[in-house]
Point group: C2
Chain length 462, copies 2
């Protein structure tokens, strides 16, 4: 959309005349030849400028008759939405503040890596490949399951992890969140009970609220959900248990094999379906037990995406489950989104995955994150902020604030100085994490973070 020199001059001239009412709404623009002569440019430059003005709605073209000033002025451009300082600190708080904050706002509260930590060169190369792709990739709806090539790549990965499923049992979706949402739509009815970890990813609560589910929190330990409490909760016959088993959000803890086994047994005893959202798995130094692999996808539905390691912009998630579940999810995805994943997105993902550089990127990323976790823990210690545990991988540190400080108050004070934090209670169903805070170690590099955090911890808002 860049405007070349002379074309831009012509566009500015016409826009100026319209703005100054030198050209009234509906009035015919100067002839292409006439304006070209008077401005000393070629007729094709004027024609191109008129086409672009028409594309943006400032002028209208009537075939065979010429170009006219638009009949209604464009509406005023409203200022973009700034941080909502008065918004309640609810499960949407962190999402809205981190997604809609100014681009240069430091966001140690957000759930993704800075763009500069992502594999930008492989992405650019994949975009150049996209420009040469066949027309169907650029312009058509894709198949309902998503392109077979990418599903085969995933199937190979799953086989490596001890989960031998064919590509036909993988459904590509617009994101892992969309995959969780489709599963909830398939299996939940309003009022159904769903187990989540306490604490858990705040958006699980927002999502389950959208489904009008009754959410039951199971206390989360350093090795997974508390197995006694899980069994107790499962006996109330919830429909689902929704969890991240590897590098759990927000704590970074990982499910132990022993607890995994007990969870699966309790789920089987009470016919609870488990949704395992494994989006942080590629950040593990060594693979940890997967509920999906232990169970053989009988009652576990496995979900993932590329948003944490490849791109959050290229929307592509996946779900693998029993064949009957996949078939039902396909119909549901067609009904609610038509088609499945965007073929353009799948092409970009496959392009990066098939590029040898991507694995090197992942190796380097894991090392970089290990360093960032250590450094962040040291810096936070200087403010008396201590991690609950040191995770084996990933980018989160789940920390305790000093002297029982109220994390929501600290987050509000920090937001006033333009730093987005993630206070503990947004992750906690029981709201028992008011002195906890989740830090994203990859987002701590900005020099403003520590001074603002230091002041906010010293003087949280009421």
């Amino acid at each position: 959309m860049a405007e070349g020199g002379r074309t831009a001059d012509v566009m500015r001239t016409i826009r100026g005349r319209i703005a100054a009412r030198g050209l009234a709404p509906g009035e015919r623009l100067p002839s292409i030849r006439g304006l070209a002569t008077s401005m000393g440019v070629s007729p094709s430059t004027v024609a191109e400028a008129y086409e672009r003005l028409a594309a943006e709605g400032a002028v209208r073209s009537r075939p065979g008759s010429g170009f006219y000033a638009a009949s209604s002025a464009p509406p005023p451009t409203l200022a973009e939405i700034g941080p909502c300082l008065d918004r309640e600190v609810d499960p949407f708080w962190v999402s809205r503040q981190s997604l809609d904050g100014e681009p240069d706002t430091p966001k140690p509260g957000c759930g993704w890596l800075p763009a500069s930590w992502m594999p930008l060169e492989p992405l650019r190369r994949a975009a150049r490949g996209l420009a040469r792709a066949e027309g169907a990739v650029l312009a058509d709806y894709g198949t309902t399951r998503g392109p077979a090539g990418l599903r085969r790549l995933l199937a190979r990965q799953f086989a490596e992890e001890g989960l031998p499923v064919g590509p036909d049992r993988i459904l590509l979706t617009g994101s892992s969140t969309q995959a969780v949402d489709l599963v909830c739509r398939l299996l939940l009815r309003p009022g159904d009970a769903v187990l989540v970890d306490d604490p858990c990813y705040f958006n699980f609560q927002a999502l389950l609220r959208a489904h009008r589910a009754t959410v039951i929190g199971v206390p989360w330990t350093e090795a997974g959900p508390d197995p006694e409490r899980f069994a107790q909760a499962a006996s109330q016959r919830p429909r689902l248990y929704l969890t991240n088993s590897a590098l759990h959000n927000p704590t970074g803890a990982t499910l132990s094999p022993a607890i995994a086994h007990r969870i699966l047994n309790a789920a089987a005893a009470h016919d609870v379906t488990i949704v395992e959202d494994d989006i942080f798995a590629p950040l593990e130094p060594e693979p940890s037990p997967r509920l999906a692999a232990l169970d053989g996808l009988e009652r576990v539905i496995r979900i993932g995406s590329f948003s944490k390691t490849l791109s959050a912009s290229v929307r592509c998630g996946y779900v693998t489950a029993r064949p009957d579940t996949i078939e039902a999810l396909i119909d549901l995805q067609v009904a609610t989104h038509f088609g499945g994943v965007s073929p353009v997105a799948a092409e970009l993902v496959a392009g990066v995955l098939g590029n040898g550089q991507y694995r090197k990127h992942l190796d380097a990323l894991r090392r970089r994150l290990a360093r960032a976790r250590r450094e962040t823990a040291e810096r936070l210690a200087s403010l008396g902020i201590r991690p609950w545990l040191m995770p084996r991988g990933g980018f989160y540190l789940w920390c305790t604030l000093p002297d029982g400080r109220d994390a929501a108050g600290v987050a509000r004070a920090a937001l006033r100085e333009g730093v987005v934090l993630a206070p503990g209670d947004v992750f906690s169903v029981s709201r028992t994490a008011s002195d906890r805070m989740r830090f994203n170690v990859a987002q701590m590099g900005d020099g403003r973070v520590m001074p603002v955090l230091s002041r906010a911890v010293a003087r949280p808002e009421a």
Copy 2:
């Protein structure tokens, strides 16, 4: 993912050894230097080949120790899903058959243009621009509303159509279907009544079924819904009325101003919200009355996308509505999809819209479709198939089969010969369109269509 000559040779060699068990699962691959010497290639070629094999899962790398044959063989590649001949002809029938048919299957039943009719050159140019975009576009989540630049372009377009809304009242979504779905999630509870046109787009029925809504059909006339029947149905206080007012799917008819006015009054009298899905509007020769513009977006929610004219692969839809509705939809979109539209998709759309060629493409497309409508009508007449009306634009002809032929039977017979058709009853809530068929005039070019259709009409399946 193309494999260069020598690298590909090395990859083939290693794959061959693994397949022939010359390299057992878990066995160490030859050293890079050793294989390079024996194959007469450079060590960097072998290293690249090993990285690519690791990326596709055929080998594993252990940092500091080398590369190993993968420990589990990849699962067999299942054949892709073919046409489901035995599937019930329900609202999902046409979607599944057209989305999952073989790429070269003629699909006069589908709801989109062939890729070759789409603006492929502007799309390729936009993809090259994407390769040069800033990192955030390639790798970050976007803002919750979607990029401001694209929303400003849309706001200008809306102003042209007499709908002056600021860009802050436009929410970008993953598709128009997703936009309708979000609105339904916001406004509907299971059992709520929803009015649709009879016939209407079959996926509206599938979508409303997913919401467990009670669907009420209002007979559709050549100038819009029958106003008496609409008023009658509205008096039952449905929550929503879901419609395409311009170039209605499947009939191609357009709402008249007089009926638009009566519909709005009846909706106001019974507090019915109207969802106007305007995805075919860019194909109109001249703009027709918009319910959204007449009403000023008080009780009308307007939805659209670029899937019919720019790309169905680049998933991007939009919704404009009252500010409180937009705010609620944003939270719902975050909860169920995290983030909004893919920044990559929005960049591609904005790139094409800002390209002067796109308007020329639209002009040419409208002319081409007018010709295709005429030609298709003539060809169908030779089989006694007649359009219910000749639409002023778009790519659909809604036709009556001769002698009360059963369209589902004709569609089944044609599918057996590899041609996907759209039988009338999938569009009809009351199932009173059994002798109707929707034809997509842009998909009639394949030489197989008319002979297959001729046979299927002569001998429909029972």
